[in-house]
């Protein structure tokens, strides 16, 4: 992630639940844990909410270390963004929880995962930084380019070559 901080409001489509988000947490001893979530929702310019469908490691990590990395994808531009975030609180009831549970249930129905995708809680996060992941390359290259070449290959390549990269739609 490089470049200036990006306003959350400018990437609203990334929070519409079209594309699953990836999150990483860390244990007290610095061991990371990765998981996928169905939904990251924009709350305001400083906060988002994520669906807690986590396994034990993620929950345990958040109890001892509130820092997370969250990757979201804008389904319109197919650009990825990495958010450095801090967990503020968990909600297990209320308007936000009910609204996100309804959306999770809809996603589960669409993906044949009803009964598997279960919302345990909503985690409200403060976003400390949001940056664009600018590690993309155009077609026809396999990574064996010089560093100067790779520096010139940013997300703009996606738009220029007009591709529909599948990564965002996938784990």
């Amino acid at each position: 992630v490089t470049g200036p901080d990006i306003a959350l409001r400018s990437i609203m489509p990334a929070f519409e639940g079209v594309i699953p988000a990836t999150i990483a947490t860390a244990s007290a001893d610095g061991t990371p844990n990765i998981t996928y979530i169905s939904l990251a929702r924009f709350l305001d310019e400083e906060r988002i909410a994520i669906s807690n469908q986590f396994f034990g490691n993620t929950t345990n990590n958040l109890d001892v270390n509130p820092f997370l990395a969250v990757r979201v994808v804008d389904p319109q531009t197919l650009l990825e963004y990495e958010l450095d975030a801090t967990r503020l609180r968990s909600e297990r009831a209320g308007e936000l929880f009910d609204s996100m549970r309804a959306q999770i249930d809809a996603i589960a129905d669409q993906t044949g995962m009803r009964g598997v995708f279960r919302l345990r809680s909503v985690e409200v996060l403060r976003v400390d930084r949001c940056g664009q992941v600018d590690e993309h390359r155009p077609a026809g290259h396999d990574g064996r380019r010089s560093e100067s070449e790779s520096r010139s290959a940013t997300c703009g390549d996606q738009a220029r070559c007009g591709f529909r990269c599948p990564f965002g739609y996938l784990p």
Partner: protein, 144 residues
Amino acid sequence: VRELFGGGAAVVAATVNAEGRPSITRGWGATISAQGYVVVCLTARTGSAMRANLAAKGRIAVTAAHPATYSSAQLKGTIDVVRDPTDEEYDRVETHRARFAVAAAEVRANDVECLMLGDLVAVGFMADESYDQTPGGRAGQALT
């Protein structure tokens, strides 16, 4: 797990800085030895937080998830080696990318004309933790 990592799965890696903040990146062309030693090429731009975390040789997690079956697993260990990929490893990256394209097509994501690679570094670590992450009853359980 070896089949999952060697097939068309999406591979994601995470590291952590000294303050406990995680970073995420994508991985390609992973191999796992019979002893559990993992080598994976990671996207890690020079000057990035990920690159700094790798250089510090702390803990790493690498997960693989098949886009069509949702079959998923995660491996963790302490970073042993960080270096430029070999030609053979670049070839594995390309093989993985091709297999991923096939897997992506299974969920109707067909247009794989551009792929996200970026500056790649090869990372080696001995996996000392492994978890099933496939959604369902066994999710989160340690693999034996």
